[in-house]
Amino acid sequence: MIDDITRIGAEAPGRIAAASTLDELRAVEAELLGKKGELTALKKGIGALEPEPRRQAGLAMNEVRAAIDAAVAERRAALEAAERAVTLAAERLDLTEVVGGRERGSLHLVTQTWDRLVDVFTGMGFTVAEGPEVETDWYNFEALNIPAAHPARGMWDTLYVDLGDPETVLLRTHTSPVQIRVMTDGEPPIYAVMPGRVFRRDTADASHMPVFHQIEGLVVDKGISFADLAGTLESFTSAYFGGSIHSRLRPSYFPFTEPSAEYDINCLNCEGRGCRVCANTGWLELGGCGMVHPNVLRNVGLDPEDWTGFAFGFGLDRLALMRHGVDDIREMYTGDVRFLEQFPA
């Protein structure tokens, strides 16, 4: 009996190894260990043996069963791995064989610039104000200390709208009317920026469009000074353009601010060393700014002895163009997808 058990135990590894599929393995397992298997058949005879041989045979039987179990499990794992490998190999894909293009759209360059600017200013504690694009003469000029026939009106080529009395309704030439609305609709302290679309009677060329975008800022509070203006613009400059870019202010004239200044930044191309882009000056003119004119404060019912403020503004389109080296502003407005998709973010 023990000899039979030992013989089966000795033959088993070879038979198991010979199984080349999981089905064959299952068959071999059944032949050896199944209800009608060889070991099961022998087991039935064990009960008839004397106690000592019975014990010996039982031990041998358990030993062989365990060995076969282990061998079958090992073989099964190997066969399963091989089958999986075949399946995976059959599923191979060429990952560069991609049909169809990208599916994501893009934000307009103006929007991207707008959002970046607004994010810097909200980080500095500013709210974001908006207003209508068609305005009255009062909001666009009068309230800003630019009375009718003021020579300074020549600074803006205005597009008038055929509503009301002649030249009383217009397409806003700057976002400054929103400053007036912020001051008339609310009260100080005011820390606000006004991004928006503006209009000029300008023929389109590489650097001009009749429609473009600006962002202006307005701060009105007690004790606000020119130093606060200079500091705010310096903070904004390094936050937006990077720490190596600084700002400077030069005297200028705007009817709605006094003292007025031009706001320059270090040339972004040469960082101030002087190059072709900045005509060797090291500076780029970005926009205008100044202390809110006392007449403007009076026009919105604020006493200039109590309240002081500053305002600044600059063009947004140029920043968008400079960032990506686009040399013709008209490109941004054709809606040509070959242009738009170049700037996904």
Binding site: D115, F121, G125, V128, T136, Y253, P259, R338, L340
Partner: protein, 793 residues
């Protein structure tokens, strides 16, 4: 305003060794230097040569071959694009190796196969004005000229100088003169400034007996100063005057006109010369124009004037002989026969000149100065300076003058408080700084009652300065903007976006994620664009558009976006997906003046069917957390496909439109693809309560799916079937999907099969078969009843 360094130096001893540094000071004072020209520099290597021969270039029409002699008798071949010289002329040649004022280095090179050994130069190439019409002829053939090989600077008598082109702000009329720029600059540099006293040749007499001035309308003219100059002989100006005028951008005419312009540029006082013989009794009357009064101006144009808008100078017979402050008349123009001149130096009301020159379309150097405000106190000095300039030609200033005043602006002293200066500027200036900074630019500063307070008298050449803030700007300017400290105010607010601004960002991100590109077409349309896009033609128009194609304000984003689709299609980009968020303008609502301005969102999907636009709308609506919005196909949307469009409606209010663009519109726009369209009035839509996204607990119990297919009449919207299902299924329905639509046998014509999957789930237990069956029965009943649908087996 252009100024020459040599001219500035006649008023103050400016250093001439650092012209760029001097320019930086001008910029820092608010007179921004736009360019600096170094006259006479870079002329080394340019010499006088003689033209020996002129031949056509064998391979080019616009270039000729020129042989020149540089002095060694050898013929040197040059290729030249100018044809104005003749054999024997002496002309300037930039020899090989010369670096031109513009930076160009002259090298031996072949032009269309012919060697050129240098470059013959125009005036502009030498930095002498803007004349680029031909080569400078130093001496014509046959006339004596400088020796061959003479350096061109020596040959033309060019004195090295520096020309600054300054941008002058409208509030700086004083800086529209060489003397004014010099005064500002000298003050900053601490140099003494003085306008030299003119030394005209004077003859005894009495000007007042030969001329008379009557200011009829004192609101037009604040001061009229008249002088008489005898012995005038009209001839070319001395070279130095002609040269300076040329550099400053004015063409020399004759000695009288040139002296007039010279004085205007130097002292900022425009002036006018009349042929005294053509003025009966030398009488002048200053008044507003009569209605439709006519005058022929110096440019030989007859102009009709407007009463109360244009001012005139009339003669003793009340005939206009000039338009006040704008342009003189032809009848009294200086000519070759002129011997005696009446010289006018006047102060005109700035607003009068601004309006008159604007409406007459006559902007001149003179009107530009008058409308900003000239100095009424300089008229006498200016007149004597002009006589001085004319003296070399024999002109003599007659003793005496006539000065008549109209209304001049009041010039009350301005109270300036040092504390206010520091408060506005953020500086800590000592009170003594106020006079130190203001006095050198002509302001009178006297202590006032309060500590640190001053009574400031503004000079007459600064009419822009009338308030304390105006004076503070001058203090800041001369202190230096760069020396004002930088400080960051602490905002007492929290910076943030408004809900609308946040929603806009969400919308944009959703659409970008859906593969849509943001475009920004212009809001201007041509007449007919709206009709072409299938929209009502009624719109707000512009009164002064640059072109008719840009004369209408859009009432919809549709024309612009469709044009962008057509543009892309025509450039072989099909299937574009574009969106825009922008303003549209309706006619004003009753009782308002401004247009009915609304913010719209529009999405255009080329090559896509209407349902693609509906899907985009569903994603937007879901993301924004908007309440359900009905797609009402019963309402016609103009310009959209009648069978494939509908209005977006909530509580009877139309929020937008969705569908496909009408093929007729696409034809008119030249678009070949189908175009899906979505437009939403953002203001109205985002006014709905939205964005809550309340939490719904997720059940831990298993869900069961129920698939039901219904046969429904074509006329019944699927949305109504879905609504009926939802209503009947009740709270157990957690998800409803339309997963199949089928038309054709065995479904009869006029009906289609809609297959829905209902996912049922309870929050607190596993559903029983009975519960599922009762939902099923209720749904089948309800759908059968309300929308006439039958369950398919």
């Amino acid at each position: 305003m252009k100024v020459l360094l040599s001219w500035l130096r006649e008023f103050a001893p400016f250093p001439d060794d650092d012209p760029v540094g001097l320019g930086d000071v001008m910029s820092d004072l608010g007179m921004a230097v736009e360019s600096i020209d170094h006259i006479g520099e870079g002329l080394d290597g340019i010499v006088v040569v003689e033209v020996l021969d002129l031949r056509p270039h064998p391979n080019a029409d616009k270039i000729q071959l020129v042989d020149v002699d540089t002095g060694d008798g050898e013929a040197l071949q040059i290729c030249c694009g100018a044809f104005n010289m003749a054999v024997g002329d002496r002309v300037p040649l930039a020899t090989l190796g010369t670096v031109m004022p513009g930076g160009l280095e002259i090298a031996r090179r072949k032009l269309r196969g012919e060697w050129s050994n240098g470059m013959l130069c125009s005036g502009r190439e030498l930095g002498l004005g803007d004349d680029h019409s031909g080569i400078i002829v130093v001496a014509p053939a046959g006339e004596p000229g400088p020796a061959l090989g003479t350096p061109i600077g020596e040959a033309l008598g060019i004195t090295p100088d520096v020309l600054y082109d300054l941008e002058i702000n409208p509030n700086r009329p004083d800086a529209m003169s060489v003397a004014g720029v010099a005064r500002d600059l000298a003050a900053r540099l601490g140099l003494p400034f003085a306008i030299p006293e003119p030394q005209p040749e004077i003859v005894p007499g009495d000007a007042a007996s030969r001329v008379s001035v009557d200011i009829v309308d004192p609101d037009l003219c604040g001061r009229f100063h008249a002088r008489v100059i005898d012995g005038v002989k009209v001839e070319p100006s001395p070279a130095w005057i002609a040269e300076r005028l040329t550099h400053l951008g004015m063409r020399p005419i004759n000695n009288v006109v040139d002296a007039s312009n010279y004085v205007m540029l130097e002292l900022g006082q425009p002036n006018h010369t009349y042929d005294l013989a053509k003025l009966p009794e030398g009488a002048l009357r200053v008044r507003w124009a009569h209605p439709d009064e006519a005058i022929t101006t110096l440019d030989d144009v007859e102009r009709t004037l407007t009463a109360g808008r244009d001012g005139v100078i009339a003669d003793g017979t009340d005939t206009a002989v000039g338009i006040a402050g704008v342009m003189g008349g032809a009848s009294t123009e200086i000519s070759g026969t002129t011997t005696s001149v009446l010289l006018e130096c006047a102060w005109w009301a700035p607003m009068a000149i601004a309006v008159s020159s604007k409406f007459l379309g006559l902007r001149s150097e003179a009107s530009a100065r008058f409308e900003r405000g000239t100095d009424p106190e300089i008229v006498d000095l200016a007149a004597r300076r002009l006589a001085e300039l004319l003296a070399p030609s024999g002109a003599r200033l007659v003793e005496g003058s006539v000065t008549v005043d109209g209304q001049l602006p009041d010039r009350a002293p301005v109270l300036v408080r040092t504390a206010r200066v520091n408060r506005l500027l953020g500086t800590e200036l000592d009170a003594a700084e106020v006079p130190r900074l203001l006095e050198p630019i002509g302001f009178g500063v006297e202590p006032a009652a309060g500590a640190g307070e001053f009574s400031v008298t503004v000079p007459t050449f600064r009419p822009d300065t009338t308030t304390e803030t105006d004076v503070i700007e001058e203090i800041a300017r001369h202190h230096g903007y760069g020396r004002i400290p930088k400080r960051v105010p602490t905002s007492v607010q929290t910076g943030s976006l408004t809900p609308l601004q946040r929603d806009r960002r969400t919308i944009r991100q959703v659409l970008v994620g859906l593969g849509v590109h943001e475009a920004m077409p212009l809001p201007f349309l041509a007449p007919g664009d709206l009709a072409r896009a299938g929209l009502a033609a009624e719109a707000v128009t512009l009164t002064n558009p640059l072109a008719a194609e840009e004369s209408v304000l859009r009432t919809s984003l549709r024309p612009g976006l469709l044009r962008a689709v057509a543009y892309n299609e025509s450039h072989r980009t099909e299937g574009v997906a574009l969106f825009e968020i922008g303003k549209v303008f309706g006619l004003p609502l009753p009782g308002t003046t401004l247009p009915d301005e609304r913010e719209h969102l529009a999405v255009v999907l080329a090559g896509a069917e209407a349902t693609e636009a509906v899907k985009a709308w569903d994603v937007l609506r879901h993301t924004l957390g908007l309440p359900p919005v009905e797609i009402d196909q019963g309402r016609t949307v103009e310009g959209l496909h009648p069978g494939r469009s509908g209005a977006l409606v909530r509580d009877g209010v139309v929020l937008g439109e969705v569908g496909e663009v009408d093929p007729g519109v696409l034809d008119a726009m030249g678009i070949r693809e189908r175009v899906a369209w979505l437009q939403v009035d953002l203001g109205a839509t985002l006014a709905l309560p939205h964005g809550e996204h309340a939490y719904r607990p997720i059940s831990r119990y298993p869900s069961s799916d129920l698939d039901l297919a219904f046969e429904v009449d074509e006329g019944v919207p699927a949305a109504r079937v879905a609504a009926a299902i939802r209503g009947a299924a009740g709270e157990l329905l957690v998800d409803l999907t339309l997963f199949d639509v089928f038309r054709g046998a065995p479904v009869p014509d006029g009906r289609r099969s809609l297959a829905y999957r209902l996912r049922l789930q309870a929050a607190d237990h596993t559903l029983t078969d009975d519960e599922i069956t009762s939902v099923r029965d209720a749904v089948v009943d309800a759908v059968g009843g309300s929308v006439g649908a039958t369950l398919r087996a």
